[in-house]
């Protein structure tokens, strides 16, 4: 019986379900709120779901590769592993890349949250104050234990996904199948455009590299990562389908946050609550918060190969940088440019670096055998 226990007394490790939701949480951030617009714009048809599926497929392969890589760590952290296999300078470069990406990712989300709340919750409160409040709570979360952070995700994400499911179900009466038609009439070019857009929303799964060391059974990482990615794919595709079927793609292209607007269309029988989109946004804020905290945690973990500062002191140093970075964009356009930049950095950390490391590891194995 002993090996069936999912939790041991005083244990500071994470189990399967926690890993799955950590990965999903890292992927689903603010992207989900704008995804239907960006994909609809890129494909310019209702076939965007194919783009999401293809992007999801690519992500599955990459995530599997990343997770497979992580099973070789054997109680080392990711950066220690890279250091052992490819030398200290490479490990430092990789650490820097991850640090920069996840740090700017965190600031980007922080600012986006501020803009979102400005649009949907209150108009008068300045973004600076809202971001500061959000950031402080994120830092509080990261300054706790890492397992605590994972458990926090475990607490929030299933609930948020459930609520999203309920919202989607409630909008079933607005669902018009004919808006999804005609199927399969877009050309490959526009589909690929959509793939490029939607793959940005899938980035973040590489964070698993930093959580494998916490897992009770690291050998299960590939399987769990795949499940986590699949949850994200299902969520994205269903939200996309519902948005298009409710608004049609022409309208979706011009809505800033289509996913939230979808919630606006939903009415509760009896009209007791109004403006459900604020409520929906609040649920998503909780999930976005989890994403942000994990991202910041990854960034803190990756900078630790440079400095011996403990986590709390490091956070004190990083906090002002984060805040200033998130305040840098002057308007929505600049913010979305920052988002683009962050996404391209994400491509490097999620796709390029893992592939290179994988190749190096393989190459060394081959050379060792020869």
């Amino acid at each position: 019986m002993a090996n069936l226990r999912s939790w041991k007394y005083g244990d500071e490790r994470i189990g399967g379900k926690e890993t799955v939701f950590t990965i999903t949480s890292l992927m689903i951030g603010v992207g989900i709120l704008t995804l239907p617009r960006t994909v609809a714009k890129a494909t310019n048809s209702s076939d965007g779901w194919m783009s999401i599926l293809i992007a999801g497929g690519i992500t599955l392969i990459m995530a599997w590769l990343v997770a497979k890589l992580s099973t070789r760590f054997r109680n080392r952290t990711f950066l220690e592993f890279v250091g052992d296999k490819a030398g200290k300078p490479v490990a430092m470069a990789v650490g820097l890349a991850f640090f920069l990406y996840f740090l700017s990712f965190t600031s980007y989300i922080t600012r986006s949250v501020a803009e979102l709340t400005k649009q949907y919750l209150f108009e008068r409160t300045p973004v600076e104050v809202v971001s500061l409040g959000f950031l402080l709570v994120v830092i509080y979360a990261v300054s706790g234990s890492r397992v605590g952070l994972v458990r926090l995700t475990m607490l929030f994400l299933p609930f948020v996904l459930l609520v999203t499911g309920v919202f989607l179900l409630m909008s079933v009466n607005l669902f018009e199948l004919k808006k999804l038609m005609p199927v399969l009439h877009s050309d490959w070019g526009s589909i690929l455009n959509g793939v490029q857009e939607s793959i940005f929303s899938f980035l973040g799964f590489e964070g698993v590299l930093f959580y494998v060391t916490l897992m009770r059974k690291p050998e299960e990482a590939p399987k769990l990562t795949l499940i986590g990615v699949m949850i994200a794919i299902v969520t994205y595709v269903s939200i996309y389908l519902f948005t298009i079927a409710v608004f049609s793609y022409e309208v979706t292209e011009n809505i800033m946050y289509p996913t939230i607007e979808l919630a606006r269309e939903v009415t509760v029988p009896g009209d007791f609550f109004e403006r459900l989109e604020s409520l929906f946004l609040i649920f998503w804020l909780v999930s976005i918060f989890a994403t942000t905290s994990i991202a910041l945690d990854v960034s803190v973990q990756s900078v630790r190969c440079f400095t011996k500062l403990d986590k709390k002191k490091l956070l004190y140093v990083l906090a002002p940088i984060l805040y200033l970075l998130s305040m840098y964009p002057q308007n929505i356009v600049q913010l979305s440019n920052l988002g683009k930049l962050v996404s391209y950095m994400g491509i490097v950390t999620a796709l390029v670096i893992p592939l290179l490391i994988f190749l190096i590891v393989k190459l060394r194995e081959v050379m060792a055998r020869a």
């Binding site: 019986m1 226990r5 999912s6 939790w7 041991k8 007394y9 005083g10 994470i14 189990g15 379900k17 926690e18 709340t117 919750l121 209150f122 409160t125 809202v130 409040g133 959000f134 709570v137 509080y140 979360a141 706790g144 234990s145 605590g148 952070l149 458990r151 926090l152 475990m154 607490l155 929030f156 009209d271 007791f272 609550f273 109004e274 403006r275 604020s278 409520l279 609040i282 804020l285 909780v286 918060f289």
Partner: protein, 511 residues
């Protein structure tokens, strides 16, 4: 076991206090004189000189009036000694004589010999009787504790409708017997410790040996033995000393007056502490789900219990979040309230001079003052306070236009909801958090409420009670324990003990 620990716990005092750790003298009178001198001959220190039958051997009995069972001393200690008609005890020196008295003369079971002064002092001060014999370097301690104590009454703070009506008292023996009567199991352990630097109080660590996780027992005992304090006045001192985080508003150790809850917790693989001198005994480890459980849940039909538990979860949520939520909606997000309700709120707030937050703060503070006053006052007057405070002030405040009627409703519902929690300590937590959330809501509206909620959640995921995550079984997710979380599954389906306790024996029933 107990005596070993007693010796270990006795310390020498470097701070100028007399060290009583020296062997007894052979001359009985000198020992008696020392004790008299040491205790400054208090009025309740009783000394009685006796002669052992007609042997001419002098015995001196020492004890403290009011702490002893007089009948026992007269009938079974003094009488057998005076009426002794056996042979003269041949070797008055040494211990042979006193051991013969212990074994052959006294018809008592709780008698043991001691040979050091501090043991004699401790015995006398804790209500036992000391017998010194001329020429012996040993003395006898007769267990004669017997003092006035409160009868077993119904617990005041945790009343139930269906369930046993007996509650713990201040007497540790009564309390341990209440547990022993419920758990007739040879594996029940009640390990005694004497805790305290000056005044030594008995604390019993209660657990069931083949259920509880052994690491847990070690950890509890380890923490217990770190206590270095003059006196543990009640279980609250122990609770605060051994708790995981004293910064947290959430209790990580449960206190209870109910023996049934205590016994049931032991069967779930928890550890209990029975502390002398208080009716509140401690249970650990706990998780937040225990805040919503009452022993009564298991006595009633599962459907009733599950629904009532659901109600408790909702009311805890209401008690914590409702005022903050109201402030957020009324100050920032009028749009989210359905228009007709929004109109009635707005018209009710017509003429109220304060912003919603100040209004709420005023009303909540008044309520807390009333509540505190009601607790302090004698019961009949307490009710008057309730009526004057609740009805008169509330009504007057509304008609004077200081607060709006909606606010009165919000505050009243909040107050009533916070009373539904079976544990008083958790009820207080909702009161503390409520103010925190109100402040957050007044600054950031709903966003603030969510931030406050997140801060609470972050705190909770990092909190532990004796190594058990405080949010278990929700996070980490332990599906088996969900049968007894909000839902209280039918008794026949609760086959396993809680997984979060990591018990040695997992099955509650045979297949």
């Amino acid at each position: 076991m107990k005596r070993n620990l007693r010796n270990k716990n006795t310390r020498t005092f470097e701070d100028g206090r007399t060290n009583d750790e020296f062997p007894l003298e052979a001359e009985a009178q000198r020992n008696v004189n020392y004790i008299h001198h040491r205790l400054h001959s208090p009025g309740d220190l009783m000394t009685k000189e006796l002669e052992l039958g007609s042997t001419g051997l002098t015995c001196v009995i020492l004890n403290i009036d009011g702490m002893i069972d007089k009948t026992l001393i007269h009938q079974h200690l003094m009488r057998p000694i005076i009426e002794y008609d056996g042979p003269a005890l041949d070797s008055p020196e040494g211990s042979a004589a006193i051991i013969r008295i212990k074994d052959e003369v006294l018809p008592l079971e709780e008698v043991h010999t001691i040979s050091a002064m501090h043991e004699a002092l401790f015995a006398i001060l804790s209500g036992d009787t000391c017998l010194f014999m001329e020429g012996s370097r040993r003395a006898l301690v007769v267990g004669s504790k017997g003092w006035e104590s409160r009868a077993i009454e119904e617990p005041q703070t945790e009343s139930t409708i269906r369930g046993p009506k007996d509650g713990f008292t201040e007497d540790i023996r009564t309390n341990s017997s209440l547990i022993r009567r419920r758990l007739i199991d040879p594996n029940l352990r009640l390990d005694s410790y004497l805790i305290g630097r000056r005044s030594k109080r008995e604390v019993m660590v209660a657990y069931i040996d083949d259920i509880v996780s052994p690491e847990l027992v070690t950890e509890v005992k380890r923490r217990l033995l770190t206590i270095e304090i003059d006196d543990i006045e009640g279980s609250g001192y122990i609770e605060q000393w051994i708790t995981d985080s004293f910064l947290s508003p959430f209790p990580q150790i449960m206190n209870t007056e109910r023996p049934d809850r205590f016994a049931a917790s032991l069967l779930q693989g928890r550890i209990g502490l029975i502390v002398d001198g208080t009716p509140f005994q401690l249970i650990m480890p706990i998780s937040i789900s225990d805040a919503f459980k009452s022993p009564e849940d298991y006595y009633q039909h599962w459907l009733i219990s599950s629904l009532i538990r659901l109600l408790r979860y909702i009311s805890a949520f209401v008690a914590t979040f409702l005022p903050g939520f109201y402030i957020a909606l009324a100050e920032y997000h009028h749009g989210m309230i359905p228009s007709n309700i929004a109109f009635s709120i707005a018209s009710a707030r017509e003429g109220v001079p304060f912003p919603v937050f100040i209004e709420a703060l005023l009303m909540e503070s008044t309520l807390e003052i009333l509540r505190e006053a009601g607790v302090r006052l004698p019961k009949p007057i307490g009710q008057t306070i309730g009526i004057v405070g609740g009805l008169v002030i509330g009504e007057a405040a509304v008609s004077a236009g200081i607060v709006s009627p909606v606010m009165v409703i919000v505050v009243a519902v909040t107050a009533i909801a916070s009373f539904t929690l079976p544990s008083y300590t958790f009820g207080i937590v909702t009161r503390i958090l409520r103010f925190f959330i109100m402040v957050a809501a007044s600054v950031f509206g709903l966003f603030g409420v969510i931030l406050a909620f997140l801060v609470i959640c972050i705190h909770l995921v990092n909190l532990k009670s004796f190594g058990v995550p405080y949010l278990a079984p929700i996070s980490p997710l332990l599906p088996r324990d969900w049968k007894d979380l909000v839902l209280r599954a039918p008794v026949t389906l609760l086959r396993k003990r809680p997984q979060m306790m990591q018990t040695k024996d997992e099955d509650r029933m045979y297949d």
